[in-house]
Amino acid sequence: MGIFSRSIYSGSLTFVERVMNGWAGVANMDRPDSVTLSPDGANVYVSGNNSSSVVVFTRTPPTAGD
């Protein structure tokens, strides 16, 4: 799963990080097919087709800096 920041002015995307099955404790996310965010922005949910699963992530809101 690729994570991007979005410019609120131009809409352009900037790569931030990737979350991969088997890395950093991520499990059962084999062939992710769909992703959605909770309305409060606190969680990300991903469906895994090959792993027949739903994977839940906590999301830390972006931090702005200079």
Binding site: S5, N49, V54, T60
Partner: protein, 233 residues
Amino acid sequence: MKHVSKSSVLAPTFEPFEPRILLSTHTFLQSLQDGIGGVDGLNQAYSLDISPDGRNVYVAAYADKSVAVFSRDAASGLLTYQQVLKDGVGGVDGLNSASIVKVSPDGLSVYVTGQGDNAIAAFSRDTTTGLLTYRQVLKDGVGGVDGLYIAYGLAISPDGANVYVTGGYDNAIAMFSRNSATSQLSYMGLLRNGVGGFTPGRTVWPGRQPGRSECLYHLRQRRLGGHLLPQHL
């Protein structure tokens, strides 16, 4: 007199200062798998959606021919399995090769496309429990409905008044009006590739499907009636 074009006045030369995003972390919290811990309805989980109130997550599973219901803990985000509805069980129909699931903006309905049934299935949603009740199936070639052959893409208008479904092998988008009280849909018509303004020779197929061409249309929804007007990009 110096000429100043309208566009040069309106378009800013520089983008306003925007702080760079330095940190955005996503931490693995939980996974739920089909057949483990009593969870059912996730075999080849294909798509998911969350209710507008954030209390439930719904998953369409291709091989299970199902839609599964999970409750969501608002504080932790953790999911708990609640229910599964499967094609051919308890009168449920239209979920063969279930593909895309969407919750209506008002949270009262859930819709699922079934590629193998060439159909869209409608469910009403209990806003307290999140549980679903099967209401209706609309199939390609039945009761005058057209455009649902290999039904796949699914969208609900922001006002909740209309539902749109792409039929990959019909090269079409089928249009429906929605009754929010019953969650039932009524067929309105379709836009088919090569007919009435659609460019011939392209396949209407938003989303991924190996070996098939893709194109993008901007379809402007008329304010009255929910019909679509094609606008090529």
